[in-house]
């Protein structure tokens, strides 16, 4: 399109360092850079329009995220008013923490163990897969990545229903294992329980692993896309050998993606509700099930809040470690 430069030319911002004049929604004719100028020099002018744009979103985050989270702190120190409702009264009751840690400590440990096992299994599957997609995928790379994501577009509840069929006592997986004569050895390894797959830790971990696989594969592929194949050739030319090529080129360059993937897998896995509830049976419940049960069944909101905060504190440790690296590696579309 050809626009004649007839109308007055908009001057560039005062300082080259400051960002360009932004687009605006409400057409106020005055330039934003003109009303922020103060005696502190050109660097200190800050237009007010961004706050108008930020306000609704910030309101959402403050009222629906920060406020509820912070309100869990006083709630965790309260007592229920009665056994029949969610109303509570503040008592400064620290014993809630002691009680939930005593009652749910083992389940808390189990949750992180399951999450770690599922993530470890996921890494073992995802790393070679990401490698194959990146270096063997060729022009099919986008399609192969799409195929990794596609299953997550079906409800994980539907996938849990399907796993129930697959893992059932007369289901295809156990029949296969029976015909291979693997029942006894797997029972010995603790993979099976009383000859069953359903309602075992294995089922929960399997469900978790397939749920979190995309979160591992995608950041890994993105990280590996930064590995120039020329580097690999160079390593070969220098007779580096497969092992050194891996430890000195591939691993350091793919590690940020792996770290991001592990974090993105551990968090939802540790707090998962669906897989333990529908695949795990009563003996393999995880911490989110306990919170759910405390809150919605036992109506013990204060203890549920205390347990939630404990879970959050534990996860925050992992998050803070990752945040030091920056948020850049969080894979977003």
């Amino acid at each position: 399109m050809s626009v004649l430069p007839a109308s007055p030319r908009v001057e560039p911002p005062v300082t080259p360092a400051s960002p360009q004049q932004p687009p605006r929604h409400r057409g106020r004719s005055q330039r934003p850079s003109s009303h922020g100028l103060s005696s502190h020099g050109p660097r200190s002018h800050r237009p007010r329009w961004p706050w108008l744009l930020l306000a609704p979103g910030l309101l959402w985050l403050l009222v629906l995220y920060l406020l509820p989270l912070l309100s869990l702190v006083p709630l965790s120190l309260s007592e229920p008013v009665s056994r029949f409702g969610l109303e509570t009264v503040f008592r400064g009751r620290l014993a809630n923490y002691q009680e939930v840690l005593q009652a749910y400590g083992p389940i808390l440990l189990r949750s992180f163990a399951y999450a770690a096992l599922a993530t470890g299994l996921g890494v073992v599957l995802a790393y070679p897969l990401a490698w194959a997609i990146r270096f063997r995928g060729g022009r099919w790379q986008p399609l192969l990545m799409g195929l990794v994501v596609l299953p997550s577009l079906t409800s994980f509840l539907v996938r849990a229903i399907a796993w129930t069929s697959l893992l059932a006592d007369q289901g295809p997986l156990l029949q296969l294992l029976r015909s291979l004569g693997l029942i006894a050895p797997l029972e010995g390894l603790g993979v099976l329980h009383d000859g069953r797959l359903l309602n075992t830790a294995t089922a929960v971990i399997l469900g978790l692993t397939t749920n979190l696989l995309p979160f591992l594969v995608l950041p890994l592929v993105v990280a590996m896309q930064r590995i120039d194949p020329v580097l690999l050739e160079a390593a070969d030319d220098l007779h580096a050998g497969a092992l050194r090529r891996f430890t000195q080129v591939v691993w350091p360059l793919s590690r940020p993606g792996l770290a991001a993937g592990i974090l993105l897998s551990l968090i939802p896995a540790a707090g998962d509700v669906v897989n333990p509830r529908f695949l795990g049976g009563p003996n393999n419940q995880m911490i989110a099930n306990s919170i759910d049960n405390l809150l919605l069944v036992q109506l013990q909101a204060p203890r549920a809040a205390a347990l939630t905060l404990v879970l959050m504190a534990l996860i925050s440790v992992a998050v803070l470690l990752q945040l030091r690296r920056g948020l850049e590696e969080l894979p977003l579309p």
Binding site: P5, P8, V10, P19, Q20, Q21, P22, P23, S29, R46, L53, L54, G57, W60, L61, V63, L64, Y65, L66, L67, S71, L86, L125, A126, P128, L129, A132, R136, Q141, M145, G146, L147, L150, L153, T154, S155, V158, A160, I161, T210, L212, L213, P214, V221, V222, L263, L264, G271, D272, V273, F278, I291, D292, L295, T308, I315, L327, L330, L332, P333
Partner: protein, 273 residues
């Protein structure tokens, strides 16, 4: 050379195993939509039938839950991309004091397991005496979608050359015009990606919904109930239809070929839960 071949073969087999784990439940779902079950639970293969497909929406309660989820996900995605786009514009095109803190605040909800958000939101709604139902569902869903939408769009905006907008203004376009004719068209793919992501997050959400829904029944809540009640083949029929629709959407949403880099990021989805 031979060692290379063997390595390639092993890599291929291992990748096939990973894809197999991802696709086994989907295959079973599609297959069982053609099953003629005995009893209430369509979990054991009995025999092939097309009966279930003759009236895909026969199960009234299931269809109603499906429509509720559809409407909720659309509304939540709209709210999320509207608020998210405004935030992204402000963060990417200005140097707001504390902009980094706001970006951090946006990223924080992504680092909480859903159960944490759910507990907090339930406590908030109980405290405000807000009856749980469609409104609380919409508020909750739009919140967890907002972070994804805003951060996605912010990353997209950061990828553009702001001099394009400046050039438009230099050519005499008023800021609003420059926004409408330059920024907005550039932002459309990002808005679509953020919208699709938000939609699928909301459509699939179980944990937050189970705490904030009250009497309202979304599709995941219905499915969770089905484990105790009845797993009718209509569930697999509907899931197959949803799967088909997702394949179509994903195909439409992928940018045209030649944009591999952008594509790889656009394929990124979901936050699991």
């Amino acid at each position: 050379m031979n060692r290379n071949r063997l390595g390639g073969l092993l890599l291929g087999l291992w990748s096939a195993l990973a894809y197999g784990l991802l696709y086994a439940p989907l295959l079973v779902t599609v297959l069982f939509s053609f099953n003629a079950p005995r009893g209430r639970f369509n979990l054991v293969w009995q025999g092939f039938t097309l009966e279930n497909w003759r009236h895909p929406l026969r199960d009234a309660a299931l269809s109603e839950a499906f429509l509720t989820s559809l409407a909720l996900a659309l509304a939540a995605a709209l709210v999320a991309i509207l608020l998210g786009a405004l935030m992204a514009l402000a963060l990417a095109r200005s140097s707001v004091r504390g902009g980094r803190w706001i970006a951090l605040l946006l990223a924080l909800p992504l680092t909480n397991p859903e159960i944490v958000l759910a507990t907090g939101l339930l406590n908030l709604f109980v405290g405000l005496n807000l009856p749980r139902g469609p409104l609380t569902l919409l508020l909750s869903h739009s919140l967890f979608c907002l972070s994804y939408a805003a951060l996605t769009l912010k990353a997209r905006l950061a990828g553009f050359d702001p001099s394009l907008e400046l050039a438009a203004q230099d050519l005499g376009a008023p800021p609003l015009e420059a926004f409408r004719r330059v920024t907005l068209p550039l932002l459309v793919p990002g808005l679509l990606a953020a919208g699709l992501l938000s939609f699928s997050l909301s459509f699939d959400d179980y944990v937050v919904s189970s705490f904030t829904a009250g009497e309202t029944v979304t599709l995941p809540l219905y499915l969770a109930g089905a484990f105790q009640r009845e797993i009718s083949p209509q569930i697999q029929v509907l899931s197959t239809l949803v799967l088909l629709a997702s394949v179509l959407l994903l195909a439409l949403a992928s940018p045209p070929r030649g944009e591999t880099r952008g594509n790889s990021r656009a394929d990124n989805q979901r936050h699991g839960r």
